[in-house]
Symmetry: C2
Subunit: 594 residues, 2 copies
């Protein structure tokens, strides 16, 4: 399965047309999802199994630029599970489960993203026919972005403003058939297609969807929470905040995705840097491995540390989420705001950091990082998308800030939940305790500036915990990684530390020294550390990052797969060649009415 990249006549997908890539994606997706079905048959029905196949290391190797069937598993089926009542689940889940129907999930509109209260699509109940009338009153009301919606799906969960008895009750979800199950033609009243080429994720078949007074049965509103009765009476949901859970889940999944992409990128760049040589220190000597330059180490090593830090923090968030989820089911919503803020913040910080780190890894490979065959441009395309989807990062950070300010204002009156307990210490310690250039000292400093402190302290605590059982050699390296992560960010956020903690100029200098020493100390283990991510060549799919280091051979082998190299002279390009091709082209061009 892992060698399916070139299923399309042996030509890598980057050479195909948009349409061919879609055809390829459908074929690869079906292969990938047959694995999901197998797992289902073996009784592995947890959502984690999909995660592995669709978004995890395995999935992102086969479905390198996303999948048109992804949303069917990640959003369509979970939405039915979470929002449909039992009767509805019985009706729809088995058909979705065995792919008799293929679904998508449509919330965002052409003119409306972050501010979901502003969605324009309406679902108006008509008690006479017991139907909802779906309508897109404007162009900006068209659904825009849903994966698989373009040509792939025949059903879709649609979020729309619910109107009944002349009153608007805000947004609710509806399951809507968009294409005929037999002919796959769009149904009357449905305007549907794909949104066009994007920076990345071009295999996802993102679509648009508009409604022209399109009617669905009343029972197609997902009614686990709120309901509309036959006579049009609206019955409110008891727990309006229960949907937070799904949002938190998706964001945790994103953090794990970031860990995968970051591990990939830094593995590729580190291995390349061990192969690539540049400049002789003495005439006649072999050129140095670029990995020996401190500038290169500075570009790469923090990504190794960050991948571990993110994974450990995401694991903890996942555990916290499960705890809070149990409380939610019991009706206890107390920790929801904290969990929401935590998920917002981690999603924003990890996606932004990962995008920056992946791009730095790419640039650290020089020109070769610009080759699609390095896999680095594709990886950046996937990662930077995550800065925008499922909560735009700037908005998420503002939400986090609001939560922190609110908590800080209530410091005296309120018991603090574990993840924000540091605010109390911080308020008390600000400027009162001296600076210390130790990991703990740096973390204390970051408690004061309230930045990345959760990632740092979680990473540090977990490594302390692990240190008890591992070999002294491994313990040393683990501590070096924590050290590197903390000193790196202390230097990056130095202005905040200088403004709000008592760190002195002299301590800054020794912090810099300590950072560079840590880079030097990590150098001998750098390749070992990325090998330890244990990413098979088939998962990396990179000319620069393979385990055997045959960088230049692979670059040439990949180049030879370009269709432009299929014949020594491109007949098709230059027409019937008579030795005057440019002159003839020029002559023709001169005739153009410019």
């Amino acid at each position: 399965m892992l060698s399916k990249r070139e299923v399309f006549d042996g030509v890598p997908e980057e050479y195909l047309s948009h349409k061919e890539r879609y055809e390829n994606a459908i074929r690869n997706s079906v292969v990938a999802f047959s694995l999901v079905r197998k797992m289902q048959e073996e009784g592995k029905t947890s959502i984690n199994n999909y995660r592995d196949v669709v978004g995890g290391l395995l999935g992102s190797s086969v479905l390198r630029d996303g999948s048109p069937l992804g949303l069917h598993y990640i959003m369509f089926m979970p939405a039915i599970l979470n929002q449909a009542n039992e009767e509805q689940q019985e009706k729809w889940l088995p058909r979705a489960w065995n792919c008799s129907i293929i679904g998508s999930y449509a919330q965002t509109e052409l003119g409306h993203g972050t501010f979901i209260r502003g969605l324009e699509t309406t679902a108006t109940y008509d008690a006479a026919t017991k139907q909802f009338v779906l309508h897109s009153p404007t162009l900006t009301a068209y659904k825009w972005w849903p994966g698989g919606l373009g040509q792939t799906a025949n059903y879709c969960i649609v979020v729309a403003q619910l109107y009944t008895k002349g009153q608007c009750h805000g947004i609710h979800s509806f399951i809507i058939q968009v294409r005929d199950e037999e002919t796959h033609m769009p149904l009357p009243g449905i305007k549907i297609g794909e949104i066009g080429a994007k920076l990345g994720l071009n295999a996802v078949n993102n679509g648009f969807l508009g409604f022209d007074n399109y009617r669905i049965p009343r029972t197609n509103m997902l009614m686990k929470h709120a309901q509309v009765l036959e006579d049009g009476t609206y019955v409110k949901s008891r727990h309006s905040k229960l949907n937070y859970g799904a949002m938190v889940f998706v964001r945790v999944v994103i953090v794990f995705d970031m860990v995968n992409y970051l591990s990939k990128a830094v593995t590729i760049a580190t291995r390349f840097s061990a192969v690539r040589r540049q400049c002789q220190l003495k005439a006649g000597e072999t050129e140095c491995q670029i990995l020996d330059y401190v500038t290169q180490q500075h570009k790469l090593f923090v990504s190794i540390a960050a991948a571990h830090a993110f994974r450990i923090t995401a694991n903890k968030l996942w555990l916290t989420f499960n705890e809070v989820n149990e409380q939610l089911v019991e009706g206890n919503l107390q920790r929801l705001p904290e969990l929401h803020a935590l998920a917002c913040c981690l999603k924003a910080v990890t996606t932004a950091d990962t995008a920056a780190c992946v791009e730095r890894c790419r640039l650290a490979c020089g020109g070769h990082g610009y080759m699609m065959s390095s896999s680095l441009p594709l990886t950046y395309g996937l990662v930077t998308a995550a800065c925008t989807y499922e909560g735009e990062n700037t908005v998420l950070l503002l939400q986090t800030a609001r939560f922190l300010v609110k908590t800080y204002q209530q410091l005296d009156s309120k018991a603090l939940t574990p993840t924000v307990a540091y605010l109390k210490t911080a308020a008390a310690e600000r400027f009162c305790v001296g600076w210390s250039n130790t990991t703990e000292g740096i973390i204390r400093g970051f408690q004061v500036v309230a930045m990345r402190v959760i990632i740092m302290s979680t990473f540090n605590e977990e490594v302390q915990e692990m240190s008890r059982t591992v070999s002294p050699q491994l313990k040393e390296v683990l501590h070096q990684l924590v050290d590197l992560y903390c000193t790196y960010w202390a230097l990056e956020k130095l202005s905040d530390l200088l403004l709000y903690t008592p760190i002195s100029q002299k301590e800054v200098e020794s912090l810099r020294l300590r950072y560079e020493e840590t880079l030097t100390n990590l150098r001998p283990n750098a390749v070992g550390l990325v090998d330890a991510f244990d990413l098979r060549d088939e998962m990396l799919q990179s000319t620069l990052g393979s385990y055997d280091g045959r960088v230049y051979e692979r670059l040439m082998e990949e180049a030879m797969k370009s269709p432009l190299n299929a014949e020594p002279m491109l007949q098709s390009t230059l027409g019937s060649y008579d030795g005057r091709v440019y002159e003839r082209l020029m002559e023709e061009a001169m005739k153009s009415p410019l």
Copy 2:
């Protein structure tokens, strides 16, 4: 000419296959270069005319993803002009001029970029036949990257290690025929092709080139400077540093390119932000323009200021270059190190800043910035490439730093040239003069930390100069732009100012206030300021950035051009449709030996 984007059957290029894009690029290039020929016929033979057509606003609109004929004009012909002797120029220039031959320029090898002394390709003189034998001893010796070399060029300037009489004389340039002029087939001994798909610049037809003991006449070595006589005697060049000029020229051109790309990106993002609305401040009100948010202003406005700052500084560098060039011709090399450092530094800073700014503009457009039809992903692809080519940025910054340190160490013994005169002031003033939150105060602070000070002070001086003649209203806006640029970077580089200047915490707070006030003051003129870049819709080619603000209409119109939307149901994808397509695909997939 500006409406040629869709010459290929009305389908935008992002939907084409790699091969179709190349074919398209050849056609578009010939149209574009017919303009060059017209200009030549009208007697406009300056290199600036090529610059406008190939790399300028005009060129980058028609040749959106580069051109396979670009290097013919930008490198091949200039190399003949600068490095060939008169006899050689007479032989080659007329044929290159009228495109009887198409050339490329090959220096970088698969294994060697920055460290050009490490190039492996050899040119060994054989006095018996009066020929040079070109050879690629290893795979890493293959030339890699030259634009147009893949399938387009039939000649190439090749940089190789010159051997004669058993001795190596370092790298020299040779003009080499690589394809038959009649049949366009590669000549025996030549291994040639394209290097494959890249993050961007996919219309450039970058190629590789290897030699298998390939013989050329002695007279094909470019002999304006160094020479090899018939008997193999090597005659050294008198001015080994004369080639610096070409390098500086190319880097100045890059800075101007950056100004174009940055103006484009910020025009698109600013106009979009005036159209896009998000969140109601009060229920029932129209949603706000996102351009009214200070977070959005923070993302965008500095790019408007930077575009002006870069253009002004590049103009000054260009003037300095011409001055120094005249001195060079007279044999005065004194200002060469300074000019070289200046060009290195400006190239590195402007490409890195522009890449960051363009990507920020893209992300500021949310999901829609991810659409290829926004033109922002393509623009980023072009800009980020410039961080690596023509001098990798990290290496350039190290060279700049070395020059500055060297100058600083000789402060007392040496008269300082104009652009580094500030170092003397800086050395004297460090910590001695108080901080002042004025433009001049900030620039003085940056003199101490030796960062961006040339851009800041050039920008400020030029605006002061212009202020004498413009209206009071324009004067005010110009000063706001300088202010914005300086306060923005003061806050970005705050840790250096806190460490090395006497700026206080209170002054930092008022600096922040001043920055936000400047954003607010610029807001009413923001759209006017980007309109003033005067970029026609045909140059922007962006669904988000057009003058009339019809963002959503254009997004939908562009989406409809996707070949996937050509038919309501894709027969080709789903095969002969019987309503069980996914089931059948699944069944097939289940048969696969996984």
